[in-house]
Symmetry: C2
Subunit: 418 residues, 2 copies
């Protein structure tokens, strides 16, 4: 695939995240206006709500772009997803007859406030990059017992908290929680001291289901993908997570990137999951390549400092695909709904600088990383801004996600003061 040319000049650069090949879906506001559906193109946002209101976009069952969230489009079904993309490509292609009518509906990205692109119905997080599971397991149980016995059979997942999901740019407040030092008998209630990020991808369920669905059906149900930072309080987690899993350690915030990159835009970049080390049960067999070749990176910017890249990895480091995770999620008969969000789990490569969390990068705090300024980090410090980036690289163009950023604010003095 090569770059498709648009009449929006900035979309024709090899450097933009948002060429005509991408057309990701977001929700934006400008000063004094309500949040509305938009489509990123180069350094502009097309006001898709305005285009629909003007009759330049017409969707079956519409209007679908007027609610300030993409859930109505998702709920309209895969035929509408396809038709909308076809209409957008036509409207924004070089030489489009509608260019002059659309031009007033373009808003500079730099002047737009990006909002949550969809209402998160429920949020599930997985644990599905083998390098990550191996690293964490090695730290806690040694390399021989690093992977739990079920790990090579089950795409391990747990339910997260949908109310914790926020859009890039939202500040994150360091939480309080129960902490127990390894040598202490009893816990204390105090601000988290080991606050961390987790580099993940999020898959968005666009088609609902009731009852079990196959991997192929699951893949068809996915509307698109976002970057996802699953902020994690490691010390809260260590004390609380046995026997029923992480709870408050993962409930402070989960940041997603503001643009939903559609599955359609990612099609040229499909890549297989790695060879199976243990044969999977037949229900998890994949009908084709279900991952995507997406380069990912994490930067850390201390308050007033410069941006440091602390990790570079790729989505193909996943052992299980989102389609496999979604299929497994439904095996018990669990219904899935429009707007469900599935976190991939932390994505780590094999090399040290490809690890997707500070827990792994600093090896549990024993090997702090050094920033350009000479400062070190085992875990996050107040004022740190963490940014995830992701893009699939085409021939002379890329399909990017935009930034997924959040700044860590200091803990409250008294968490119960209202």
């Amino acid at each position: 695939m090569t770059l498709k040319k648009s009449w929006v000049e900035s979309a024709n650069s090899a450097e933009t995240d948002f060429p005509l090949n991408n057309l990701p879906y977001g929700v934006f506001a400008t000063e004094g206006t309500a949040p509305r559906c938009g489509v990123a193109i180069g350094d502009m946002v097309l006001d898709a709500a305005a285009a629909e209101a003007a009759g330049l976009i017409a969707l079956e069952g519409g209007p679908l772009l007027q609610s300030g969230a993409w859930n109505p489009v998702m709920g309209a079904g895969a035929a509408v997803w396809k038709d909308l993309r076809r209409q957008l490509v036509t409207l924004l292609s070089e030489g489009a007859a509608e260019a002059e009518a659309l031009r007033p509906m373009l808003v500079p990205l730099a002047g737009a406030t990006l909002c949550m692109p969809f209402a998160v119905t429920e949020y599930t997080d997985f644990y599905a990059s083998k390098n990550h599971a191996f690293n964490v397991g090695t730290m806690f149980r040694g390399p021989e017992n690093a992977l739990p016995p079920n790990w090579l059979s089950i795409p391990i997942g747990y339910n997260g908290r949908a109310s914790s999901v926020v859009v890039s740019g939202s500040d994150v407040r360091r939480p309080w929680g129960q902490l127990k030092a390894p040598d202490a008998e009893l816990p204390i209630f105090a601000p988290c001291k080991r606050f961390d990020l987790e580099l993940e991808m999020g898959a968005i369920v666009g088609t609902p289901s009731s009852g079990p669905v196959s991997v192929a059906e699951a893949d068809d149900m996915i509307f698109g993908y976002v970057l996802l930072n699953d902020w994690s309080a490691r010390d809260i987690q260590a004390w609380e997570y046995q026997p029923l899993g992480p709870f408050q350690a993962k409930a402070t915030a989960t940041t997603i990137s503001p643009w939903i990159v559609t599955k359609a835009a990612l099609e040229p970049f499909r890549a297989p999951t790695p060879p199976r080390e243990r044969e999977l049960l037949p229900y998890l067999a994949e009908p084709g390549p279900m991952l995507y070749d997406i380069d990912l990176s994490v930067t850390l910017t201390p308050a007033g400092g410069v941006e440091n890249t602390i990790s570079r990895t790729n989505y193909t480091n996943m052992y299980y695909s989102a389609a496999q995770q979604l299929c497994h999620h439904t095996t018990s008969g669990c219904s899935m709904r429009v707007g469900d969000l599935l976190g991939s789990g932390t994505i780590s490569g094999t090399e040290k600088d490809t690890r997707g969390s500070l827990l792994e990068l600093s090896w549990g705090g024993k090997e702090p990383i050094t920033l350009d300024s000479g400062e070190t980090r085992s875990f996050l410090e107040d004022g740190d801004t963490l940014t995830l980036y992701g893009a699939a690289q085409g021939d002379g163009y890329r399909v990017g996600f935009g930034a997924c950023a959040g700044t860590l604010l200091p803990a409250l003095d008294d968490p119960f003061a209202r």
Copy 2:
């Protein structure tokens, strides 16, 4: 407190779950009509939507009773909750001037189909009855290590799946899942063989929050309570739950009773949590009695057979109250929303016949229970109907929940056939 008399005669019996003292909120439909808000009174349902439409009920910010769910009332705030209850007591009291106008708005309970009383926003389940935790821990780790080290400090909870919550009367399909026999090396994908019930209470969040809330504030946020059966696939759970907690084992279904018994109706029955075996951290201190004296029971009715009571217990067997659980839930900054549902965790007493799950009643299947017919049960069999009952006993009246029932259907032949 004694019985308050109503002009609805059947509400004046000591045997009804729904005297004037109760006035629980549900959603009902009759043949050919859409689900609408109703209030149970004796053996009737007051069509509250009709009463509001006729101007007999008037609420600030209303109409609030026309949506087929109680979420708008919850979201209107505690002053509206109080005002609605006051209006209902007036309307339904003996001698009320409005009796004749209201009589046509009464529908026999026997002819009403009961629907989900509210939209479940997110669902969290806890593990907070000490006897239950001790029983389960003893089975898996022996009595010395029965309670996890954090259990006496943390109201342990995990996020469940809101899409799994169904109303009493909904059938439940035996799930498929990954099962690994203790002596097998690898799992198989097969129908669950150890399907179980869990007797719980559910607390419904009516007031949203952002940031941590105290136990007292948490108590104020609770709108009401329901009975809750957290159906559990024990064999799926055993293989999947380490390290991140139960997932598909708990996602098949969670059945709630159809009537929300308001906190106001339960006020006369407040009871304290038991003495602390380890001093709680100050943030979990209770400003007063936060449990309720509610008798609970479970019956099992085999297909075509008679109803057997298999457990009798009381809500005061909880170690942590719903207010403590909700407070803990917010410590990390986790936002709570209108319609969030909190399961108490399985409620077990100290005696064998007060245990709230078959896992405990049959001691992991080693001591099957015997039904009146001579049949035995270690876990549930296809066709079994499980029913939970609950009521607080007043002086000559009771505040009951109605039945919380579900019948287990056989597993699908092929879970992926569509």
